[in-house]
Amino acid sequence: MKIEFRLPSLGADMESAVLTEWLKKPGDRVRQGEPLVTVETTKGLIDVESYDDGQLLEHLAQPGAKVPVGAVLARLEVEGTSRSPPAPPAPHATPAPPVPHAPPAPPAPHATPAPPAALTAELPAPAPALAAGSPEEAAAPHARISPAARRRAHELGVSLEDLERSGGGDIVHIEDVEKLAARKPAAPTDERALMRATIGAAMARAKREIPHYYLGHCVDFGPARDWLTRHNAPLPVKERLLDAVLITKAVALAAFRLEGFNGYFRSGRFEQSTAVNAGVAIAVRGGGLVAPALLDAHRKDLATLMQELSALVVRVRAGHLRSGEFTAATLTITNLGAEGVDVLYPVINPPQVAIIGAGAIRDRPWVEDGRVVVRPVLTLALAADHRVTDGRAGARFLRATADLLAQPQAL
């Protein structure tokens, strides 16, 4: 069948992107998961992947074009029915075994990687809150600038003072904004400001809509550290595992087994995801962060997770990610251990319902069998959505994660 290939939402607050380069030309065969086109967003360059196997018929947008989320970029002939969004939500997970000590569940039957957009039919993202509460909005009553132009100015990082001056008393339209923006070469600070605005909008939405609750739990990281030291000692540097990989795997397994932390809250209800696509927050140098996903993290072994995390960081540093990584995360893990803080109280990334913060792993006094011993201690913090779970479920989730970290050889 013929289908339209549209620009997916690559984040709750993305409105548009600039088409940078076509990676496939009309007539080319395409496979599911293969990048078709590169677009530039506030998160950097992102390769948008095909949802289907088939053939590209024609391009409907050209490099340089700014396209809104949901816009048709190309036409494809695909085999069978398309998997492209808007897709029905993924089938609900079978209830997870309630016992945290349960042995690792067998791999889920869906052995093929989840199509990038299977869980993220968030198209288009709700009109973001960029305007509400932004300085631009506050200045609105005094500026003779059309609302569309104001929004465009925000996107392009054009200041309203500059616009008012350039308007010379006339009403400022969207074209005026673009002319002014074209005269100002895009400076790195503009990109940073855009990323900051994007993060701000997502976090404002989180704080406005999600009734967060927070729990903290100290974990004896001794067994995990000892296991890692033994495991890493004979390996060349690039095959060694980081603490973060063990933490990610433990969290992913806990999220797979316990209901209410892995999935999306949309249209007034929670959808549990079958796969755990663990978003990992990665800081961008100079400010900002992105949280691309490690797909099916609960089913991958530690070496694979390490390789994938390593590759993700490389792509973030190079400013070049893939759409599936952005649209897929079903919960997020954020780790500030390297910065030396003890506890990180995170903010949920909507429409997800949970985020786990990991602080520094520090030697601390720890009581064991009535004696005080020194142990490397990790403080985990959970922020979760009260519309989905309560503190007791959250406590079980953190305890399950701690229990998993106590048996690192089983991860």
Partner: protein
Amino acid sequence: MEPNDIRAKLLCLLAAVAPDIDPESVDPERDLRDQFDFDSMDALHFASGVSAAFGIEIPETDYPKLASLRAAGELIEERMAPGR
């Protein structure tokens, strides 16, 4: 290998780990974590690059010795010194 060659090679490795930094701007004395927001993965990539490029072993306990460009240079000279 001369210290200058080591330094040049280290700058290349640094650029591979962090393509978004300007190698000219590197302060050899300053901790890379503070200077370039290196996280543990960046540090591992740098250690891995150093180990492969200079053919030396870097156990995990030596990671702190790669904290700055100067410290890394000293570690490499020591490891590559004749008689080791």
